[in-house]
């Protein structure tokens, strides 16, 4: 066997054996000392039997035998193993090769590759474990502080158990109130910034300064009460600098209102150093092998320098947290990898695809116009929406919210582009469905307005600027008003009446709906009690939003408020939209069962516009269906609407549910609905929503 042949096979520090039969091999090439030691001085041309040792190699021969039997040119490798001889620890790998009709067994000395790989993985694994520990600790302390803090209405002062946890934390903790005034900062935080409690400065203030200057989305996090996890850099001239892992988390009180902020900080300078010792780890995400945030930012800046137009798309994976919680992080990781595999084929080789956060990806898309970019986003959404099957056992689904921004139209710097992409992505996230939202001036304006509205809403809650209007519901068999729907109205002293369509979505997004919803319940029960005292036994229905159904404290709140008022629960009704039913059937089912136990009735609002199936309606304790006004509005003009209304009434009758038609404005509509068995009507034909006093007079 010539050396050129070995070179052809890419073999150098190796030994080559040819299989003669079963476990008998002839040495073709093997001069290296390690081989001579391992095979007891076997020389070229001699036979050796591999049936007992090296044990790893004997085991590999099972695979090799199967491979050789295929009689197909190629090779399989054993993987690296360590073999202890009398005087050395060898790092070896075997390959079974079939070439030109001959079975070869080749042994490689992997000493150099082993050391290289060990050096790289040593850093990588130390880093992995450190990061896991930091995040684990942050998560743990956040859970503790959140659960302790949510017991009090405001984080006015830090209560003893919370303080104890914070004082003993190994990493920096700062708690700020809703106005970003510091309430607590622990010694570890002072130490991180080389400060002492006796110094003039405050580490929490310094931390805020760093956040504002280094994190473009920080304002948005504060405005929207979101959570954020990332890294910041602190430079303390002349020689001190630190990389800090930061978790910013809103603290909410029992009613879900934001009452403060929790900042958790850990020194990760050492991990950063480890990262920098390996470029691959510094610029690439280990899970997906995509470029990471640092690489993406650098690339974005370089792209701007070329002055050619492009789009930046910010992709936020919806429901990943839910997947992680339900199936475990390993399944979540599989889903992320699969997302990458599904999106990558849709991109061109000029595009840059990066993973910039736990559930965030970013793409720079070149040579594309608005329409094509929108279509590309649509394709990505469709691809990601398809279900995921992990280990043939778990089926899960995620969605995608995409924010899009154009260079140079929307921004000229990397900071600007990412800030606006972040805003667009945040807006897209508010949509239940997976959508793309491009940045625009309007978006900026509406974001500003939304922030103003949120602040005004908070004031409205404090200053009691809400009022309940009652819209009568007519019982068609008795032609009497037997119930009413409570509708919230907001009178802003500076602007006048604000439409619920304007403020309810913002209350939903900010969590203020919980507080407002509780006020509605309280006020409805108060008005009902007053009416009943006057002998007017009316039933009142209240609209519930999805967030309220998810609020664990709501059931107790309704129970207690009813009990305090002494009102019979049968006079209270809760209205839910179809969307709430579909969202999480089990949760809604449990919720409604509890409501039913209390004696409160349930209506499905805006029926016909959502996706609730017959099976849902059968299984849930529901009393009324409210036909959406969109079907009633053109009832006489469109036969299709008449067909839908008749079908809903027939279906409700078969399920023994009563039907309320909303938006009735004309006598013909009333006649049609009555003729087809509708039980109740609501609409301007009888009365618009009235103030309590007017309603009382009407009765």
């Amino acid at each position: 066997m010539k050396a050129s042949f070995f070179q052809e096979l890419g073999l150098f520090d190796c030994a080559i054996l040819q299989r003669v039969e079963n476990d008998k091999f002839m040495v073709l090439y093997g001069n290296a000392p390690w081989f001579i030691t391992l095979f007891e001085n076997k020389l070229k041309g001699e036979l050796c039997v591999i049936d007992d040792s090296p044990f790893f190699l004997v085991d590999f021969l099972f695979d090799a035998d199967e491979f050789w039997q295929l009689k197909t040119d190629g090779r399989i490798n054993s993987g690296v193993w360590s073999e202890q001889t009398e005087d050395a620890l060898l790092r070896l790998e075997a390959a079974a090769i079939f070439s030109r009709g001959i079975d070869y067994l080749v042994l490689f000395n992997m000493e150099n590759e082993f050391n290289k790989r060990q050096g790289m993985l040593q850093s990588a694994r130390e880093l992995l474990i450190s990061n896991d520990k930091v995040l684990e600790q942050h998560e743990l302390i956040r859970d503790r502080v959140e659960s302790l803090a949510s017991g009090s209405e405001q984080v006015k002062g830090v209560e003893f158990p919370v303080k104890e946890v914070i004082d003993h934390a190994e990493f920096g903790v700062a708690i700020l109130d809703a106005n970003m005034q510091r309430l607590e900062q622990n010694l570890a935080l002072y130490n991180l910034f080389e400060m002492s409690p006796n110094d003039d400065g405050s580490p929490a203030d310094l931390l805020l300064e760093l956040c504002h200057s280094q994190f473009s989305g920080f304002e948005r996090v504060l405005e929207t009460g979101s959570r954020w996890n990332g890294e910041i850099y602190w430079l303390h001239p002349p020689a001190l600098s630190r990389w800090l892992q930061l978790t910013v988390s809103p603290v909410k009180d029992e009613s879900g209102d934001r009452s403060g902020w929790l900042f958790l900080v850990t020194d990760i300078t050492r991990e950063k150093y480890l990262k920098q010792s390996n470029e691959k780890l510094t610029y690439f995400d280990a899970l997906t092998n995509l470029p990471n945030r640092q690489y993406f930012w650098q690339y974005l800046e370089t792209s701007i320098e070329t002055n050619q137009s492009f789009y930046v798309l910010l992709l936020d994976v919806k429901h990943l947290k839910r997947t992680n919680e339900e199936f475990g992080f390993s399944v979540g990781d599989l889903v992320l990898k699969e997302i990458v595999d599904r999106i990558r084929p849709l991109l061109s080789s000029n595009d840059v695809f990066a993973r910039i956060g736990g559930n965030e990806f970013s793409i720079i898309v070149r040579d594309i116009d608005y329409t094509k970019c929108e279509s590309l986003a649509g394709q990505m959404i469709s691809a990601v929406k398809e279900p995921y099957y992990a280990e043939d056992e778990f089926k899960c689904s995620v969605g995608l919210s995409i924010g899009g921004v154009h260079y140079p139209k929307d921004g000229l710097s990397a900071e600007e582009l990412m800030k606006y992409a972040d805003l667009a992505s945040f807006t897209a996230k508010q949509n239940v469905k997976s959508v793309i939202q491009f940045y625009s001036e309007d978006l900026k304006d509406s974001s500003r307005k939304r922030i103003e509205m949120e602040s005004a809403l908070r004031e409205a809650i404090e200053k009691k600027q809400f009022e309940l209007y009652l819209q009568p519901v007519l019982n068609l068999s008795s032609e009497n008003i037997t119930q009413a729907e409570a509708l919230i109205r907001w009178y802003r002293p500076d602007l006048g009446m604000v439409s619920p369509a304007e403020f309810i979505p913002i209350a939903e997004q900010t969590g203020l709906i919980i507080k407002i919803g509780k006020w509605v319940i309280e006020e409805s029960i108060r008005l009902l009690s007053e009416l009943h005292r006057q002998g007017k036994y009316i039933k009142l229905s209240i609209n519930l939003s999805p967030s309220q159904v998810n609020d664990r404290s709501l059931l107790d709140f309704i129970r207690c408020t009813l009990k305090e008022s002494g009102l019979n629960a049968k006079y209270l009704e809760l209205e839910l939209t179809e969307g709430v039913l579909v969202d999480d059937f089990d949760k809604v089912s449990d919720f409604l069962q509890e409501i039913r136990k209390m004696g409160v009735s349930v209506a499905i609002d805006d029926f016909g516009t959502g996706y609730s199936s017959l099976s849902y309606l059968q299984k849930l304790p529901i009393d009324y269906l409210k036909i959406d006004q969109s079907f009633v509005f053109n009832l006489m003009e469109h036969e299709s609407n008449q067909a839908i209304v008749k079908a809903i009434i027939a279906m409700a009758t078969s399920l023994k549910l009563e039907v309320i038609a909303e938006g009735v404005e004309k006598e013909e509509q009333k006649a049609f609905l009555k003729a087809h068995g509708c039980h109740f009507l609501q609409g301007y034909l009888f009365s618009r929503p009235l103030t309590y006093d007017d309603f009382r007079k009407l009765l």
């Binding site: 044990f55 790893f56 360590s82 790092r91 130390e126 684990e136 390993s330």
Partner: protein, 167 residues
Amino acid sequence: MIQKKICMLGASAVGKTSLVKQYVEGIFSDRYLTSIGVKIDKKVVDVGDSSVQLMLWDIEGVDRYAGFNPKYLRGSAAAIVVVDQTRPQSLLDGLEICRMIKAEKDVPVVMVINKSDLPKADGWDGVAENDGLAMIEANFQTSAKTGEGVENMFLAIAELALKTKVG
């Protein structure tokens, strides 16, 4: 002499190599050195009247850099899944590895909760309330550092392996 192949698996840095080193050579090093590939160590142990040679396959930690290789399980009489009680994530990873072993081969699996000389992580008990623990034949507390529980654990493995026909 009867030979039994035992596979040692687990996430990175849980102490698989240290357990083998403590058991076979009676030494321990505080310095973490990541394992690459496989290393096989042997030790003879007496179980009742029989002597068993344990072939301990110390396999590189399963993580995002090295996947689970089911081929290594071939011919094994038992598998030891090592977890680190200072890292709850290692238990989750360990349970996942147990599931993969069970899916591949009907072999007894024991879980070894290592580093018992160190305080248990705060979140450990929450993670340990896991249905997945039902698939494990036995579990042991060990400290590769002090040697506590190590000898007993391997003896129990030898007994378990003797009951297994293969390996």
